[in-house]
């Protein structure tokens, strides 16, 4: 199983904010197992989707030159469970971004109802001792393409995001 918890980005503004969607489907096996008989999307996986939305936002802002690791869920609150048929919309907003780390607020909504809110803290690790190779460029680019980042993304000046030529 690949660890993909968002389906695509609908908005991506470098270093500032991003919106991604996650369609919850009964075809996903983990929905059946969390509470047998009551299929729902585990909120731990909602956090993972929030972290992927926010993590890619900050990793792009630092040009993917450090490993962005979800270091801490500084706060998280959920108001109801997402169930098959729901579309979760994750909105991430960068609160603070430095070379060594970042703090991002993310909300999860279904329609106009706020499903969850979290504040995520990422550590940005330098490649080297104890930090494995950052990524395989081909794999990362394929993922970013799947996410439509270079179709809809904008840089700081409002221009289309340039696709890196790794």
């Amino acid at each position: 199983m690949r660890w993909f918890w968002i389906d695509r980005f609908n908005e991506f503004v470098r270093g500032k904010r991003a919106t991604a969607v996650k369609n919850v489907s009964l075809a996903e096996e983990h929905l059946h197992d969390h509470f047998p008989g009551a299929a729902m999307m585990p909120n731990s996986l909602v956090v993972e989707g929030m972290a992927q939305t926010a993590g890619l936002l900050v990793a792009d802002a630092i040009e993917f030159n450090r490993r962005v690791v979800l270091a801490k869920v500084a706060a998280a609150e959920f108001h109801f469970d997402a169930v098959p048929g729901d579309t979760l919309v994750y909105k991430a907003e960068v609160l603070d971004l430095k070379p060594t780390g970042s703090l991002v607020k993310v909300t999860s909504t279904v329609g106009d109802r706020v499903q969850g809110e979290a504040e995520l803290f990422f550590a940005h690790l330098e490649p080297g001792d104890g930090v494995p190779k950052l990524f395989e460029p081909d794999e990362l680019l394929r993922w970013l393409d799947h996410m439509h980042i270079y179709d809809i993304g904008q840089d700081e000046a409002g221009q289309p995001l340039a696709r890196p030529d790794w």
């Binding site: 270091a71 706060a75 603070d96 430095k98 803290f121």
Partner: protein, 128 residues
């Protein structure tokens, strides 16, 4: 320059948000690790929040001198030696090291830093 009470209030806000503790737990004498449950990654979070709240720049190692605590020059048999204590005092004049000096085992150090020390640290940064 904000008063010490104002600094304390902002430090308290930063610790409440970073550590998820209640406001009344953040007393001046509370230790960050022992009483408030801070873990190593929390220090990065706390640094971020203090920098933002006070508009200061906190350099790596200023609040947690990991380089001193892992140096063979300053640590002998798991204890910070005299040169190490001297270095800690010079680097961290805002920390009251009296208790730590009684048993300067490296593993006791994380339990040394108190809320009051953080307030003094911010005060020294703002005065600089």
């Amino acid at each position: 320059m904000p008063s010490r009470d104002e600094i304390f209030d902002k430090v308290k806000d930063a610790l409440v948000e970073a550590l998820g503790v209640d406001e009344d737990e953040v007393s001046p004498s509370a230790t960050l690790v022992g009483d408030l449950g801070a873990e190593s990654i929390d220090f990065l979070d706390i640094v971020f929040r203090l920098e933002k709240a006070f508009g200061i720049k906190i350099l790596r190692g200023e609040l947690f001198p990991e380089d001193v605590l892992s140096s063979s020059e300053f640590v002998t048999n798991g204890k910070v030696n005299e040169a190490g204590l001297k270095e800690l005092k010079a680097r961290m004049p805002f920390v009251d090291l009296t208790k730590f000096e009684a048993n300067p085992s490296v593993q006791n150090f994380p339990n040394t830093l108190t809320v009051e020390d953080m307030v003094r640290y911010v005060e020294s940064k703002l005065a600089a």
